[in-house]
C-alpha cells in the first residue's frame, strides 16, 4: 500500500513527519479529485445546468424592458440603466438555482449509496463535502462571468471596473458555496433528491421578498420589513454596490465578508449535519 508509513518504521519521528506531510498532500489530492468529479457531473448534465443560466437572464431582460422608467423613482439608486441594477439579482438568482443542482447531486449520492462508499474510504469528511460543493462553486463563478459577459453588450456598465468584476466573480463562488452548503444540509438530513428540488419555490419566494428585483428604498410596509430581515437583500446589495459605484475597499470587503461569512456558517452547519448523520442516520 503506497500510503503505508510503516516502511519508515525504524525512525518514529520521521514516520510522523512523513505521515503528516503525506496526509496534507493527499488531502489536497482528494479534495481536487472529488471536485473534478462534481464539475464533470455538472458538465455531463446540460439539461440541469442550462435553465439556471437562461432563467436569470430572461428575468433581467423582462425587468429591463418593463421597468426601465423605474430608475427615475425617488429613492432608486443612481444607475444609468435598469440593467445595472438588475445584474446583482440575476447573479444571486442564478447561483441559488445552480446550487440546487449541486445539492441534488449530493442527495442522489446519498440516495443511491455512493456517499456511503465514499465514507468508507479514508478521506476526510470535509473533503467529501467540499469536493461535492466544488462543482457548484465553479459553476457560481462561471455563471457570474457569463451573466456579465452577456449583459455587457446590452448596456450594462460595471462602475468598479475589471477589478470589481473579478471581485464579483469571487463573490459568486463564495455565494454558491454558502447556498450549496445550506441546501446540502437538507440533502444530508433527508437523503432525498426530490426534497432538495422541492426547495425551488421556497428559494424563489425568498428571492422575491428581498431587494433582488427592487431597491428596499422604494418598498413600504410588510414587504419592506421582510426585505430588511432577509439576508439575501444584503448579499444582493453587496454585488450591486460593486456594479453601480466606483471601486472602493469598503464595497469589496463588504461582499467578501458577507458571502464569506455566509459560507463559513453554512459549511460549518453542513459538516455538523454530516457528523450527525454518521451517528444517527
Amino acid at each position: 500500500m503506497s500510503t503505508d508509513v510503516t516502511s519508515h518504521r525504524d525512525d518514529p519521528a520521521m514516520t510522523i513527519t512523513i505521515a503528516r506531510s503525506e496526509r496534507r498532500q493527499s488531502l489536497w489530492a482528494q479534495t481536487a479529485a472529488m471536485s473534478s468529479r462534481s464539475i464533470t457531473a455538472f458538465l455531463r448534465q446540460p439539461a440541469l445546468v442550462v435553465p439556471s443560466l437562461v432563467f436569470p437572464l430572461f428575468f433581467a431582460a423582462l425587468g429591463t424592458s418593463s421597468f426601465s422608467q423605474a430608475i427615475d423613482l425617488p429613492g432608486f439608486p443612481p444607475v444609468q440603466s435598469f440593467l445595472d441594477f438588475a445584474l446583482a439579482g440575476t447573479i444571486i438568482q442564478g447561483v441559488l438555482f445552480g446550487s440546487i443542482t449541486g445539492a441534488t447531486a449530493l442527495a442522489t449520492d446519498i440516495d443511491n449509496g455512493f456517499f456511503d462508499r465514499l465514507l468508507t474510504t479514508p478521506t476526510s469528511r470535509s473533503s467529501i463535502l467540499i469536493g461535492r460543493l466544488a462543482g457548484a462553486m465553479a459553476f457560481g463563478g462561471v455563471q457570474t462571468i457569463i451573466f456579465i459577459a452577456v449583459l455587457l453588450p446590452f448596456g450594462l456598465r460595471i462602475q468598479s471596473g475589471v477589478l470589481g468584476a473579478a471581485v464579483m466573480v469571487l463573490g459568486g463562488v463564495l455565494t454558491a458555496l454558502a447556498v450549496g452548503a445550506l441546501l446540502s444540509i437538507m440533502a444530508l438530513r433527508t437523503g432525498s433528491p426530490e426534497a432538495v428540488q422541492g426547495s425551488f419555490p421556497l428559494l424563489f419566494v425568498l428571492l422575491f421578498f428581498s431587494s433582488a428585483f427592487f431597491p428596499r428604498q422604494t418598498m413600504t410596509g410588510v414587504y419592506r420589513r421582510l426585505a430588511d430581515a432577509n439576508p439575501i437583500s444584503y448579499l444582493v446589495e453587496a454585488f450591486r454596490d460593486l456594479t453601480i459605484e466606483a471601486l472602493s475597499l469598503g464595497a469589496v470587503v463588504r461582499l467578501m465578508v458577507i458571502s464569506g461569512l455566509a459560507a463559513l456558517v453554512t459549511v460549518t452547519m453542513a459538516l455538523r449535519a454530516l457528523n450527525r448523520r454518521l451517528v444517527k442516520p
Binding site: S2, D109, N112, G113, F114, T120, T121
Partner: protein
C-alpha cells in the same frame, strides 16, 4: 453459542463483542442489532446469513465505520471501529448493497477517484485501475459511463473499486443479490480467488447456496441476534438426519404416513409428497422401501436429501429463506 472462535482467534481481523445498535428512541426504539459477538480469523470467508431486516447490514455498517454502535465494541484489522475509524478504513475494502456507483462517471474514472481517495501513488493509479478492470473482465467497458452497465457489470466494477488499495479485509454486503446465475458464478470465482490470495472476507447473503459455496464458517442472524454459528458441514450435521421424500398413490397417503413414522419424524414437504427424517441415516432407505412394499403401497417417486443449510436455517429461525436451494421438494410453512 455466539462466542465460537475461528482460527487465530487473538489476532482475528474481525472481532465484535456485544455489538448493539438501536434506531429511534423511547417507545419506538428498535434494537436492529442486539448483542452480536463475532470473530473472523485471518484468511477466512465468513458468511453472514439472515432474512431481510435481521440485522446483517446494520452489523456490517458498524464494522465498516459507517454507523457508530449504540453499545459494544468491534475491532477490524486490529483497530477500533470508533476511535481508530480512519485506520480501519485504510485496511478494509467495502462493497455495499446495490452496487452504489455514480452512473455519470466511467469505470476508469471511478477507479482513479477511488485510488486517489485511498492515497494510491499517482504513478501507480493508472496501472492499478487497468489491472483491476482486467481482473473483473471489464477492460473493454472501462471508458463507458457506468449508467450503461448491466447489473452484473456494476457489481464487478463495485468489487474492483473495493480492491484498489489491496485491502486485507473485504466486506461484501449481498454481493450477488438480483444477479443472473452466470454473473453470480463469475463473482463467486473472483471472491474465491481473492480468498486464495489471503484476503479475509465477510459476506452477507440471503442465499444459503452462496454461503455453502464460499464460506468457511457462517453465522445465522435473526432478530438482531446470532442464532447459529459454525462451519457449514458441522451445522448441517447438527440438524442431523437426511430427509427422504416419497410420492405414493394419493389414496394411500395416510397408510404410507403411518409406515414412515416408524423411521423418523415427519418433515415439511410440498403438497402430495411425504417427507421423513431418517433417524438412522441414508442406509435406512432400502428398509423404508421394503416396509412400504410389505404394506402393498407402490412408490411412485423417491428422493433422498442430505441436510442443507436451508434445514439449518429453518431449524434455527423457524422459517425458510426465499430463493434458498431446493432441498428436495421441501418447501415451507410461510
Amino acid at each position: 453459542m455466539t462466542t465460537a472462535t475461528g482460527p487465530g482467534a487473538d489476532d482475528a481481523p474481525i472481532q465484535a463483542e456485544g455489538l448493539v445498535r438501536t434506531f429511534g428512541s423511547g417507545e419506538l426504539a428498535v434494537r436492529a442489532v442486539d448483542g452480536v459477538d463475532l470473530r473472523v480469523g485471518a484468511g477466512e470467508v465468513f458468511g453472514f446469513l439472515g432474512p431481510n431486516g435481521a440485522g446483517k447490514s446494520t452489523t456490517v455498517r458498524m464494522l465498516t465505520t459507517l454507523l457508530r454502535p449504540t453499545a459494544g465494541t468491534a475491532r477490524v484489522a486490529g483497530y477500533d471501529v470508533v476511535s481508530e475509524a480512519d485506520q480501519v478504513r485504510r485496511s478494509i475494502g467495502v462493497a455495499l448493497q446495490d452496487a452504489a456507483i455514480d452512473p455519470l462517471m466511467t469505470g476508469i474514472e471511478l477507479l482513479r477517484l477511488q485510488a486517489v481517495l485511498y492515497g494510491v501513488e499517482r504513478s501507480q493509479q493508472k496501472r492499478r485501475a487497468g489491472e483491476l478492470l482486467e481482473r473483473v473482465g471489464l477492460s473493454a467497458a472501462g471508458d463507458r459511463r457506468v449508467g450503461t452497465y448491466s447489473g452484473g457489470m456494476r457489481r464487478r466494477l463495485d468489487l474492483a473499486l473495493s480492491l484498489i488499495h489491496e485491502p486485507s479485509v473485504l466486506f461484501l454486503d449481498e454481493p450477488t443479490t438480483g444477479l443472473d446465475p452466470m454473473s453470480r458464478m463469475t463473482l463467486w470465482e473472483e471472491i474465491q480467488r481473492l480468498n486464495d490470495d489471503g484476503t479475509t472476507v465477510l459476506l452477507t447473503t440471503q442465499y444459503l447456496e452462496e454461503a455453502d459455496q464460499l464460506a468457511d464458517r457462517i453465522a445465522i442472524i435473526d432478530g438482531g441476534r446470532i442464532v447459529r454459528e459454525g462451519d457449514p458441514a458441522a451445522l448441517k450435521a447438527e440438524v442431523g438426519a437426511p430427509t427422504l421424500f416419497i410420492d405414493v398413490d394419493a389414496t394411500r397417503t395416510d397408510e404410507a404416513r403411518a409406515v414412515l413414522a416408524a423411521f423418523g419424524d415427519p418433515r415439511p414437504t410440498a403438497e402430495g409428497t411425504l417427507g421423513v427424517g431418517l433417524t438412522a441415516g441414508a442406509a435406512e432407505v432400502s428398509a423404508v422401501i421394503r416396509a412400504l412394499d410389505e404394506a402393498g403401497i407402490a412408490v411412485e417417486r423417491l428422493e433422498l436429501s442430505e441436510p442443507s443449510l436451508n434445514d439449518v436455517f429453518a431449524e434455527a429461525t423457524g422459517y425458510r429463506l426465499e430463493g434458498a436451494e431446493t432441498g428436495g421438494a421441501a418447501t415451507d410453512e410461510p
